[in-house]
């Protein structure tokens, strides 16, 4: 995507920012959480991360070679897909899971639709949804204890919360990531660090994550406790599961989210809402993946209806009417 065409509302000021630069920024922002995952879950996590990234890059290069396209693995987008996919997987999955997931993400979800910029859903999430549907037992049941790395048979905190239990880790453990969960979703502090970096460098817009997490927080606060309103545990809801990871790193994907600021806010709120619905009343304990994937599909509709006002146009119907009357 070395094109000079920038698809955003006016004004069309060209910035020195390139695809490669943005992607590199995202990789840097993901690194703390990846290191955290390796510290928490050990060699297993490292192997999953490496397998996932290598398969994603190799799949992209091979596909582009086979279809005689320019090979663009140098732009780091495949690296991000691999990293994000690995971060959504439980640390105890067999290594074929990230490998197949990455290949699916790159070939089926991204390249078949035309490669970077043309995919209609987030490739990493599509890969995760695929492996979760393909091997439900080995993907949804491969949790490890942080630090001790023992296999865990008890449900994740999110599943506990869904079952109506209250026995979830304390706030500090949730923040540093001392709990069972997917590779890259547990350490909230490190994820926020990366997210903050993206916000400060203006790679992502604050509206999407704020809309997403805000909706989840308020929604859980209102409806989270069965039988009573306004008593749910909203804070745990956003700290548990993949909400922070999804809100900062996946819902903000340029290709699959709206281009206008208002559209991004709608996207975030919508993704939060679907996540909330699945978590509270759906069949799965976690709904971030499907929330974002669902809104990915809504993105063209949002972009179509949320059109910014053109500069110089009259804002309001009354003004237009009076102008017509004068004529």
């Amino acid at each position: 995507m070395g094109e000079k065409l920038i698809v955003t509302p006016s004004p069309h000021i060209k910035s020195p920012r390139t695809v490669k630069g943005v992607m590199l920024g995202v990789v840097i922002s993901l690194l703390p959480a990846c290191v955290g995952a390796v510290v928490l879950f050990g060699m297993n996590a490292l192997l999953i991360l490496i397998t996932s990234v290598v398969s994603a890059v190799v799949a992209e290069a091979l596909w582009q070679r086979a279809t005689k396209q320019e090979i663009t693995v140098g732009d780091f987008s495949a690296v991000i897909t691999g990293l994000l996919l690995a971060m959504t997987l439980p640390p105890g999955v067999p290594l074929y899971v990230p490998a197949v997931g990455s290949v699916f993400a790159i070939v089926i979800a991204k390249q078949i639709f035309g490669g970077l910029g043309s995919n209609f859903v987030n490739p990493a999430l599509a890969g995760r949804a695929f492996v979760l549907a393909a091997w439900p037992m080995s993907v949804a049941g491969a949790w490890l204890n942080p630090l001790t790395h023992d296999a865990v048979s008890s449900p994740t905190p999110l599943a506990v919360l869904k079952g109506g239990g209250t026995n979830i880790p304390g706030l500090w453990d949730l923040l540093i990531g001392n709990r069972t969960g997917s590779l890259g979703e547990t350490s909230i502090i490190l994820l926020l660090l990366g997210g903050l970096f993206l916000l400060v460098t203006k790679i992502i817009d604050w509206r999407t994550p704020v809309g997403f997490l805000g909706t989840l927080f308020v929604g859980t606060w209102i409806f989270g406790k069965p039988g009573a309103l306004f008593q749910g545990d909203g804070l745990s809801a956003i700290l548990l599961g993949g909400a922070v990871l999804g809100a900062f790193f996946m819902a903000t994907d340029y290709v699959t989210s709206p281009v206008t600021p208002k559209g991004r806010l709608i996207f975030g709120i919508g993704a939060g809402l679907v996540t909330l619905l699945i978590r509270l009343w759906g069949g799965y304990p976690e709904g971030v993946t499907y929330g974002i994937l669902f809104m990915n599909l809504m993105t063209p509709i949002i972009d179509r209806f949320v059109v910014p006002k053109y500069y110089g146009y009259e804002h309001d119907a009354r003004a237009r009417k009076s102008a017509e009357g004068k004529r």
Binding site: I112, A134, W135
Partner: protein, 207 residues
């Protein structure tokens, strides 16, 4: 210029392939193709109904009034469907259990009414017979290919009667391939591959 009789039969496989080129008859294609065996028997049922209805529509084509041809087609199609359904219930009860409602639903299968309307209503009995056989056989092949891919990936093995290949599972089966999303993905990818192949051969012919 009339096309050759052989062509009336062979066109059902690639050129006028019901599933991948005309994109009709999608309902059984997606619903029952979880194994080669299911695909085969569904295909056999369709071949029987299609050939029967084509022949009778063609035989009666000069007597059927234009204005009420569709209801008459439906009756001519429903007859063999009932025959197939009763035969399957009697001799293949296990298969009938699996295919279930999709056997009676052949009556509204687009392939059959499309061939009656677009082909048998205008052509001779022999041509209609060959057309029904060919389109039906092509459709059966599609169902068996889709079924084969989904069965192999979804269960790790392909079972044909007592013959099972490969005898040991080489990988952890991908359950998703047996579910509707797996069906859609297989169908879409196969359609893309066939479209590329047809486009390439057309390009070659043009040169």
């Amino acid at each position: 210029m009339k096309r050759s009789l052989l062509h009336e039969f062979t066109k059902g496989f690639i050129e006028e392939n019901a599933t991948f080129r005309m994109v009709i008859g999608m309902c059984p294609t997606l619903a029952v193709t979880t194994s080669v065996k299911n695909g085969f028997w569904m295909g056999v049922a369709v071949i029987f109904v299609l050939t029967f209805s084509n022949v009778f529509v063609s035989l009666l084509r000069k007597m059927i009034p234009d204005q009420i041809r569709i209801p008459i087609f439906v009756i001519l199609i429903a007859t063999p469907v009932v025959i197939v359904e009763l035969l399957m219930r009697a001799y293949l009860p296990a298969m009938y259990e699996i295919l279930g409602v999709f056997v009676p639903l052949i009556v509204v299968n687009c392939i059959i009414i499309a061939r009656a309307e677009a082909f048998a209503y205008k052509e001779s009995v022999l041509r209609s017979f060959l057309d029904g056989l060919g389109i039906g056989a092509g459709f059966t092949c599609n169902l068996m290919i889709i079924g084969g891919i989904r069965e192999f990936l979804g269960t790790g093995q392909i079972a044909l009667g007592s013959f099972v290949f490969p005898s040991v599972k080489l990988f952890e089966p991908l359950v998703v391939m047996l579910t509707p999303p797996g069906g859609f993905m297989t169908l879409g990818l196969l359609m893309a591959i066939l479209n590329i192949a047809v486009a390439r051969s057309a390009q070659k012919k043009a040169h």
